[in-house]
Amino acid sequence: MLTLRQCSDSIHQVDSFCTVTGGEIVRFLAFAFVLYSLLICSTAGANDFPTQARVEYVFKCMNSHGGQTYETLYSCVCVIDKIAEKIAYDEYVEADVFSQLRSTPGERGGVFRDPDRASLLVDKIFEITEGAENSCFVGLGAKSAN
């Protein structure tokens, strides 16, 4: 369900600045589908984020990007959907714990800073989030609001 919507979304964006014939559309759709399969579906995670996780992310994201407006809502929904495509939920949660708890003071914090897997996952989630934010216009709304 979600996958279909995302595929059609990407076509919409292209559609809006192209005037094309029926044949071209069919060819384009076929091309887009192949492209989608190669670029997105092949690297996709399980797209298994629970609703609660998506909603929490969206609220947190809105709060840190200028508050609750439709602009931030759209951007943040876009980001979490993209993150969910790229990483399985359990791995995302693990990465989140490492990144949240790196700054835990004292001896205890070491267990979140020292393991190799900690840096690996923190870097991974950072890259995915950065990529998603760039393509979802995150922050533009907040800037224009100033």
């Binding site: 929490e56 609750q68 949240q100 700054s103 835990t104 003071p105 205890r108 267990v111 393991p115």
Partner: protein
């Protein structure tokens, strides 16, 4: 004549008995009624077991969040709420606020926020945690971080008395939950990283005056050890056992702090607890066994005198504090009914001792990765240390590699649970190893006195089994010293467990999940993601015929999304102004207590 004497004695006994034998009779009654959760461990034995069974292994999967309460404090939330009748009492990390919550409508009846010197924060080694309150005789006892022990009126929150238990300027702080037994409130001290001289203290509940104080190290007059009567594995310890295994005056800054949990056996009138690491961490500069750091103590409640001691890790070289909880249970060991004390030490061994005599019955590894010692010698009680993992033998400025467990132990303070129905202990554990390098430090009061650098990693890197998880949740047979089942957890489990008569075991994870598993098989039955990592203890109670399960989430630096007081206007939540005034009556930003129940 003889008859008259007997009669007099009987009358005297009758007069004395109600005062001395009933270990705070009101509190005992509250603990016996499973509708309450009146003490940190559910009972004096620290079993963390509830007789409630409305939520059970066949319906726990249907649990829902019933209500939440945000504490308004960030930082790590350890411990759990107390429930007495219609009131729930919950505490926070520094500044150690206390809330009394009316269970009828979850409104705040009163709140108490102590003014504490913020200079206390830098001398707290491991986040500004606090593990909870004690209730007795219509009073709530609060052990503040700055060492003030406070008695509050449980109905109004008004302060009744306040005393000082230590000096933060010299590195003393408190993180422990006090415990009330008879007319005394028992508390300890933190600050082993600052060379604090550890002790257990009993204050009179009436006015806060000191009844006794037993130090972990020092001459017999300070340790309250009788050289002839106090035993170590059945043998009298001899004179000044608290000084003669230390070099010179080192025992004065010897650590042996007491920041864990305290349990009590009313029949034996003994209080049980463990002492922490000797200071400094660097073992090279403090030769000897460093008695009685890393020790299980059994002290007489009335006098504080030590009946028996058992040192688990003589001459600690790894910071394996012995402070973890002592769970009291009556189980069969080698076919014989025994009154035992079960203790999962940071050093990775699960100990079963006879709690009457201090006899060592079982000492086995509760994480197979443990490698610093091969076994515990059952005659001497000493661990057989493996030379290549001895940070002392390797010396200063040598990096001792691949030691298991890491300094935070196979288990830290988060208390385990015991179910008399299954006879099993449910233990939240770490599965972490370390590289450890001691270096030379000088002691300055109020400054960290650590002297070691360490680096931590998953135990799988040492065992070579290809795993990378950092924790396990296990079921343990304390009669045999065997793991019955073990659930790998991606992160160390720092949440206290709860076992119930519904044959469900609950615990929290650092991802923020509250999990319910089958007490017999370990099968996962339920999980729910709370707003932040869980390092609190799961507690349960019943109100108006409905069973509830509650746990604090919130861990240093991670506050979830901080939206408890409504999704907008978050920053106003604390100030309680304008439109948020009514909201503030119900909720505070920060760590969150999540309360679960079955739907109607």
């Amino acid at each position: 004549m003889f008859k008259r004497i007997v009669a007099i004695i009987s009358v005297s006994l009758a007069l004395i008995v109600p005062v001395t034998s009933g270990a705070n009779s009101e509190l005992m009654q509250l603990m016996n009624n499973p509708n309450n959760w009146a003490i940190w461990g559910g009972d004096y034995a620290g079993t963390r077991y509830s007789k409630l069974s409305q939520i059970n292994s066949s319906n726990v999967g249907k649990m829902q969040v019933a209500w939440t309460f945000s504490t308004g404090v960030l930082r790590g939330h350890e411990g759990g709420p107390l429930v007495v009748g219609e009131t729930l009492y919950v505490h926070t990390p520094f500044p150690n606020k206390v809330f009394a919550i009316n269970l009828n409508d979850q409104s705040i009846i009163w709140r108490y926020e102590p003014k504490q010197d913020p200079d206390t924060i830098p001398v707290m080694c491991c986040d500004t945690v606090y593990r909870g309150l004690a209730y007795a005789d219509g009073k709530i006892f609060l052990q503040q971080a700055d060492t003030h022990l406070v008695a509050l009126d449980a109905k109004t929150g008004k302060m009744i008395w306040r005393i000082k238990n230590g000096d933060p300027k010299s590195g003393s702080t408190n993180t422990n939950a006090p415990v009330v037994i008879k007319d005394k409130v028992i508390t300890g001290i933190s600050g082993g990283e600052f060379g604090v001289h550890g002790f257990l203290a009993a204050y009179n509940t009436k006015d806060g005056s000191l009844a006794w104080k037993g130090f972990s190290t020092g001459p017999d007059s300070m340790t309250l050890i009788d050289p002839k009567k106090t035993t170590h594995l059945g043998k009298p310890v001899g004179a000044n056992s608290g000084t003669n295994t230390w070099k010179g005056d080192q025992w004065k800054i010897g650590g042996g702090t007491t920041w864990g949990w305290y349990t009590y056996d009313p029949a034996l009138n003994l209080v049980y607890y463990g002492t922490g690491n000797p200071s400094t961490w660097n073992p090279v500069v403090r030769p000897g066994d460093n008695r009685w750091s890393m020790t299980i103590f059994a002290r007489d409640l009335d006098t504080g005198m030590a009946k028996w001691v058992y040192q688990m890790t003589p001459h600690d070289e790894w910071d394996y504090d012995g402070i973890n909880e002592m769970i009291l249970a009556d189980i069969k060991v080698k076919g014989k009914d025994r009154k035992v004390l079960v203790h999962f030490d940071r050093n990775g061994f699960g100990y079963t001792l006879d709690r009457v005599t201090g006899e060592l019955l079982v000492a086995e590894k509760y994480d197979p990765a443990v490698n610093w010692a091969t076994h515990v010698d059952m005659k001497t009680g000493r661990p057989a240390v493996v030379a290549k993992y001895s940070t002392h033998q390797n010396g200063e400025d040598t990096n001792t590699q691949n030691v298991c467990p890491a300094a935070l132990g196979s288990k830290d303070q988060q208390p385990a649970a015991f179910s008399p129905r299954t006879g099993l202990f449910y233990v939240p554990t770490n599965h972490v190893c370390m590289d450890y390098e001691p270096f030379e430090v000088e002691y300055v009061a109020g400054q960290p006195y650590v002297g070691a650098t360490l680096s931590m990693f998953p135990a799988g890197r040492v065992t070579g089994d290809g795993t990378n998880h950092l924790g396990n949740f296990i079921a343990w047979d304390a009669s045999e010293g065997k793991i019955v089942w073990s659930l790998p957890e991606q992160f160390s489990v720092w949440s206290g467990a709860l076992a119930t008569a519904g044959d469900v075991v609950f615990y929290g994870t650092l991802e923020g999940y509250l999990k319910a598993v089958d007490a017999k098989t370990g099968k996962e039955l339920y999980k729910f993601k709370t707003p932040s990592g869980i390092i609190g203890n799961v507690n349960t109670w019943s109100f108006k015929g409905k069973q509830y399960v509650g746990v604090l989430s919130g861990i240093g630096g991670w506050a979830g999304i901080g939206m408890a007081a409504g999704l907008e206007g978050d920053t106003d939540g604390l100030g309680a102004v304008g439109a948020y005034k009514s909201l503030d009556k119900y909720t505070q930003l920060g760590g969150v207590m999540t309360v679960f129940a079955l739907p109607d």
